[in-house]
Symmetry: C2
Subunit: 359 residues, 2 copies
């Protein structure tokens, strides 16, 4: 029960960010890529919280799965210690709380932890039974995300013009999800249909996830990719090289406003100025109908060192101020459609997104 079904695995990318194993959670260390392919075993909920904070694992859906697995690790830990059931449950709640405080913007984490919380809240009489149910739920979250990405890929690929130049930002790929990817899932499916598409990856400063992660996972899967600096999108579009933009999302509000990696908003504006359609690919777990507009989304500000240094070398003068929001919000008016596992939502999103949840 601790592994995904072989059928699902065969459908996916070669790349897998995380996997629940009998020893813990096997995590591909995303801070070491592309120069080193290193797997770590995360054994406790506390280690998982740190792995999320330090971005060993990142990407909204993957963080959700990691959070769910973190709760399983908490249960395993307490069981090994032989904690009485009351303490076992108390520790679970403490670890859910701890995991929920790792990163504020991506809603998938809270969505997954809520799902795990619901399992904890069900009546159970033994630690063993609860651990079994939590394990099953976490694997289901992972498998559902995987299937959702496959479905997004199929829906999204229908939108891509023949031979299109496609640009994406950050990494919304197998590395950012349970496998296959959201934006890169669309690109994978499009490439399977039409290998003449041309993929451009924004390097995505400050952490360079586009350069470090997206190019790596596409090369692993044999999909040709051109790396560009974030500030080249205007030049590319003006030269007619881009016909389609697709990005992931960390949180989408009821009106369609979308928080995603810093620079997504810039890319959306550049796309609109060139009449290039801008799509967001995200599972329903990324959509937060409890928030009305993007202004309500908490935006994480990360450490200045992400901007001031690269590979531990200072790249600016001492005495400089910094501003390092990790995400920005793209207003719904820039978005041509939101590609989900249940189909493509079109503007006005207020209605189309709500409808997806009814179906």
């Amino acid at each position: 029960m601790d592994t995904l079904s072989p059928a699902l695995k065969s459908l996916s990318s070669k790349v897998q960010a995380l996997e629940l194993t009998p020893d813990g959670v096997r995590l591909l260390d995303q801070t070491a890529l592309p120069n080193e392919v290193r797997y770590l075993t995360i054994r406790t909920a506390g280690e998982m919280a740190d792995a999320i904070i330090t971005m060993l694992v990142r990407g909204a859906p993957a963080i959700g799965i990691a959070g769910a697995y973190g709760v399983v690790l908490s249960a395993r830990e307490s069981q090994q210690k032989g904690l009485p059931f009351a303490e076992f449950k108390q520790q679970l709640l403490a670890d859910v709380d701890r995991l929920s405080k790792t990163r504020p913007t991506a809603v998938n984490l809270f969505w997954a932890l809520n799902a795990m919380q619901a399992v904890i809240d069900e009546p159970t009489d033994s630690s063993a039974k609860l651990l079994e149910r939590l394990t099953a739920k976490s694997l289901q979250i992972h498998q559902d995300d995987w299937k959702a990405c496959q479905a997004m890929g199929q829906h999204g690929a229908t939108l891509v013009p023949k031979g299109a130049g496609i640009i994406t930002h950050c990494n919304a790929g197998a590395l950012a999800t349970g496998g296959y990817g959201t934006a890169l899932g669309v690109i994978r499916s499009a490439f399977a249909n039409d290998p003449t598409i041309k993929v451009y990856a924004d390097e995505t400063r400050p952490r360079l996830q586009g350069a470090r992660l997206t190019t790596w996972e596409l090369v692993e899967d044999g999909i040709p990719v051109t790396l560009v600096s974030d500030n080249m999108s205007g030049s590319l579009m003006r030269d007619g090289k881009i016909q389609f933009v697709v990005v992931g999302a960390d949180r989408i509000t009821a009106n369609g406003d979308t928080a995603n990696k810093i620079g997504t908003y810039n890319l959306a504006i550049i796309a609109q100025a060139h009449q290039v359609p801008f799509y967001v690919a995200a599972p329903l777990s990324t959509i937060d109908l409890s928030l009305t507009t993007g202004q309500e989304i908490p935006i994480e500000e990360r450490d200045a060192s992400e901007i001031s240094t690269i590979n531990d070398e200072l790249i600016c003068a001492k005495g400089v101020d910094f501003y390092n929001p990790s995400f920005d919000v793209t207003p719904a008016s820039y978005i041509a459609g939101i590609i989900t596992e249940k189909g493509i939502a079109r503007p006005p999103f207020q209605e189309s997104l709500a409808k997806l949840f009814e179906a």
Copy 2:
């Protein structure tokens, strides 16, 4: 005669990119900043050509001055070798040609080399006299640029709203000119009038001139500066933090289209989407009335290693393709005004730019 007047020096920034000395050209090595402040002495025209290609010296006006000084170095070299006058002139022409082939986009280089060529073409009867005239012309080009930057600063400062947030791209500062700077000259003058302005510097991938150079020279001169990634401008503007954009230029065509560092076009689009005025600051030597529109400007494409590595470490997968245009063209329609030493040209630029040359 080999140095700038003390009066001009006192007006300027502490930072000086290049200076003609009896030994050669004293060059601040801009590839070593900000971690090392290292001066080199360039002694031959060939060394100067290499210094321009490898960007030890960069910035459109500074490249023009460096080119002019390179011609002086050619004359000094030939004089030291005791070449007969005919060979002396022949070598000058060969070196002018060599210097002209270093970088294609910034027109100031060709403008300065044309001015030096005109001196070579004047009737002269001795190497000594020609060397003297070339030296005088090169120093005049440097001093004129310095004065032009001061004038641009004064004109441009009148445009900056009280307490404005100002964003700039790349480095159009003292380091990029004969001193004081074009865009940073406007910022220096604005700051002298109103120290409550807030300056934001785009880091400017791939070569990070904003991070490495702009923050350094502003900190040297005591002007507070906040460093941001190139892809944060949308977020900053949406938050109401930016009221004014000013950038330099590498070449401006008769209709006002402006080639400048890659990412300038992105910034212009982002500014227009937020109704923030976007200004270009450049001396007349940057304006190329021989070209009708920006489509005619040759855009330099530089080595892929600028994108694939940072501090010699690979930041992407092996087997990736690259696209590395060093400049982009911002159409005139995005530009609120072009700040020159003769005043501010407003749209339609076809007329206003032509008028500047008549005055």
